[in-house]
């Protein structure tokens, strides 16, 4: 178990990086508390795998330090850092039985067989592998193999952190949520620090207590799933999390308020004018766009273009002053046609300057 601190981490795959563009990781400062469930979320190429490899010790960062419980571990190998990792493609020792696979890390460390047996059986019970203990590991399905990988991490009592690198990639879609909830349940039982790397927002948000969103080598936000949803600190977070993503449209500041093409938008706080030349955008999630009566306060005129049914909700596409604005309407509520009016929920409407939220 360990508290993990990343201080001013930068990494470049080039020998002589000049400017930010040469860095795969631009600047990362993070603190991960002992026993937490964290997710590293971002699209491919955002630097999340680089960061994962730096934490696990497979890669040495160009600059900055990694601390485990306050001790600098930059120069320690993965085994010295006592980490465990579950890879994208299941890694099992094919010729061994499930039991021997689980016992392998302990045997390598010279733990007495009797102790191994107790431990392996306890872990097998936790990961639902008890009935398969005698089977050859090669015969298991992909989800079984991933459970073995995980079990090999859990079986060691000295593990500081368990890392998951897109562990559900090869799992059948209808089994994904089962394995995901199993992971969650295991975390709640063992309370080992876990870091889960993925590009899938559902996986990240359901697994983690806190999610770190990465974009082009930057950490754009760290927060609880709720914070990421309700108050995205960066337009990328607004776009990437949520389906469909946040509605974004250019706006300008006028008389202490915000307006989009002359339509005044109500916001819940005074917006301090950013430095001149900044690109200003207004953001509101489809969940917080409501259809209202034409005479309601803050009603904005829109044209309904199309409706798509997701069963639980309807995604309504509208045109607001030339900008595409989507609204999410729950099942059972009727959707107007043609000219209609919407209101952006005042405390869920954000203003961004050059992509970053204006607090």
């Amino acid at each position: 178990m360990a508290r993990i601190e990343l201080q001013a981490l930068r990494h470049s795959y080039r020998p002589d990086p000049v400017d930010d563009a040469d860095y795969a990781l631009k600047q990362v400062d993070l603190v991960w508390e002992d026993g937490g469930a964290y997710a590293l979320l971002g699209p491919s190429g955002c630097g999340k795998t680089t960061l994962l490899n730096i934490i696990s010790g497979l890669l040495c960062p160009s600059e900055g330090s990694i601390l485990f419980d306050g001790v600098r571990v930059n120069d320690l190998s993965p085994e010295e850092r006592r980490i465990a990792q579950v890879f994208q493609f299941p890694v099992v020792y094919d010729t061994m039985t499930v039991y021997d696979n689980l016992a392998f890390p302990l045997r390598n460390r010279g733990v007495p067989e009797k102790q191994i047996d107790t431990r392996v059986r306890a872990i097998a019970e936790m990961t639902d592998l008890t009935e398969m203990l005698g089977n050859k590991a090669s015969g298991l399905t992909a989800d079984g193999k991933q459970k073995i990988s995980l079990g090999r991490g859990l079986v060691r009592e000295d593990v500081n952190v368990i890392m998951f690198d897109e562990p559900l990639t090869v799992i059948d879609p209808h089994l994904k949520w089962k394995l995901r909830s199993k992971l969650k349940e295991l975390h709640q039982r063992v309370r080992t620090t876990m870091i889960y790397v993925t590009h899938d927002q559902t996986e990240a948000l359901t697994f983690a207590d806190r999610v770190v969103v990465m974009h082009e080598g930057w950490v754009v936000q760290q927060g609880t799933p709720q914070e990421l949803f309700e108050r995205p600190r960066h337009t990328f977070v607004g776009h990437f999390i949520g389906s469909p993503g946040m509605n974004l449209m250019p706006c300008e500041l006028a008389d202490g308020g915000v307006s989009v093409d002359g339509h005044r938008i109500a916001v819940d706080r005074a917006i301090a004018p950013p430095k001149t030349g900044a690109r200003l955008e207004l953001g509101v999630r489809p969940e917080f766009v409501r259809f209202v009566d034409a005479h309601a306060t803050d009603a904005l005129p829109v044209d309904v273009i199309g409706v798509r049914d997701t069963g639980r909700n309807k995604i309504v596409e509208t045109n607001f002053a030339g900008h595409k604005v989507r609204a999410l309407v729950p099942e059972g509520i009727s959707v107007p046609q043609g000219r209609a009016h919407v209101r952006f929920e005042i405390d869920r409407t954000q203003v961004y300057a050059n992509g970053w939220i204006i607090e």
Binding site: P43, S44, D172, P173, H174, W177, R180, S181, K184, E185, Q188, H199, D200, Q201, T202, L205, T206, F207, P225, Q226, L228, F229, E230, H239, F240, I241, G242, S243, P244, G245, E287, R308, D309, T310, G311, R312, I315, P330, E331, G332
Partner: protein, 359 residues
């Protein structure tokens, strides 16, 4: 163009892959095959394409029996889950390849390729090799190949499965529009109910080598003919429990829990039924005093920003509640949930739909 399978079945090495199946695709429509990984979607597509010859039954194309006719003569295109492109050809040559095989002249090839490339937003990459494209662009290239040749039938086998979440969202929106540009029949296989709903059109629900129901997508979602179709068309799986109807009340068999019978079910004869309700129609009963309230032990609780998912034990069945907003639960605690009986279904113990209300 029309395509009909008449009493088609397929047996390979003594194993039934497709059981006696008849389906008439909606001409020039978007036909979706929905089912889990081994439901037989790909096999059915291969039968439609003529890549496999059925053991029994006939395949009719535009009113002609083409059961034994080779795939090359059927004017069919297919797009696979893996991004299949010619690696040594440029994107332009990849898209042009079907036209070259059909001996189109140079000018026409150029004109058609640039038209399709523009539609799929590939025009900036025409000179690149597929390996220099992102996953989404590679798959769009494969789709462009299918679109460029004027096929009567386009088969898409989970084309979005290997793409990033956000890209999937984007293409899902574009696809129906893209394929509507010309009269052609599209068959689209997917494992995700939400994808089927977003794509619209017509859906054939598949389970274990059988089509369980075929019709307009929304209708099948709201009025599934049987339990199997209902569970195929629900993610997370639909909640079910065996109940006994006695006058105006349902009682869970083997317990004293129960609730009022909703209007649509009042005319149903007394007896034993399977009661089904979708996860988003079960919500935590915070402060609600009456209604169809059930109690259960919480198995897993997940929060994904805007939604909470709670798995709980419903008299031996694992039930899921999926609601907007944040609801915190501890694993193991007993919690109360409210069933929205106005959105529920009733199946006979044999699994056939008896009545449905609200969908």
């Amino acid at each position: 163009m029309t395509l009909a399978l008449k009493n088609v079945s397929l047996r390979v090495d003594g194993l039934m892959h497709i059981y006696d199946t008849s389906i008439e695709l909606v001409p020039n429509g978007f036909n979706i095959l929905l089912g889990t990984t081994l439901a037989g979607k790909t096999t059915l597509m291969r039968l439609m394409a003529g890549l496999v010859v059925p053991t029994h039954g006939e395949v009719w194309f535009n009113g002609v029996d083409v059961t034994g006719v080779a795939v090359q003569k059927r004017n069919v295109s297919m797009v696979y889950q893996q991004f299949i492109n010619y690696p040594n050809m440029s994107v332009f040559d990849n898209i042009a390849s079907p036209l070259r095989l059909a001996r189109y002249n140079k000018d026409e090839i150029k004109q058609r390729v640039s038209e399709v490339a523009r539609l799929l937003r590939l025009d900036p990459f025409l000179k690149r090799k597929p390996s220099e494209l992102s996953g989404g662009q590679q798959q769009r290239c494969a789709m462009a190949r299918a679109l460029v040749k004027d096929s009567d039938l386009v088969l898409l086998d989970e084309p979005l499965a290997n793409l990033d979440y956000k890209l999937r969202e984007e293409l899902r929106e574009e696809l129906p529009r893209l394929f509507a540009t010309r009269e052609r029949t599209v068959v689209y296989a997917t494992t995700e109910p939400s994808e089927a709903l977003l794509l619209g059109g017509y859906t054939a629900a598949m389970d274990e080598g059988r089509i369980t129901q075929f019709g307009p997508t929304g209708e099948i979602y709201r009025r599934p003919a049987d339990r199997v179709t209902a569970s195929v068309f629900s993610d997370p799986p639909i909640n079910t429990v065996a109940v006994r109807k006695h006058g105006a009340r349902f009682t869970v068999i083997g317990s004293d829990a129960g609730w009022r019978v909703c209007d649509a079910f009042t005319r149903v004869a007394d007896g034993e039924y399977e009661f089904a309700v979708r996860p988003h129609h079960v919500r935590p009963a915070n402060g609600v005093a009456d209604g169809a309230i059930v109690e259960g032990k919480v198995l897993v609780a997940e929060i994904s920003g805007s939604e909470s998912t709670v798995h709980f034990d419903m008299h031996g069945q694992s039930w899921v509640s999926l609601t907007h907003g944040i609801h915190c639960f501890n694993v193991g605690q007993t919690a109360r949930f409210l069933i929205d009986i106005d959105h529920s279904m009733l199946f006979s113990m044999a699994g056939e739909l008896v009545a449905a209300q609200g969908g």
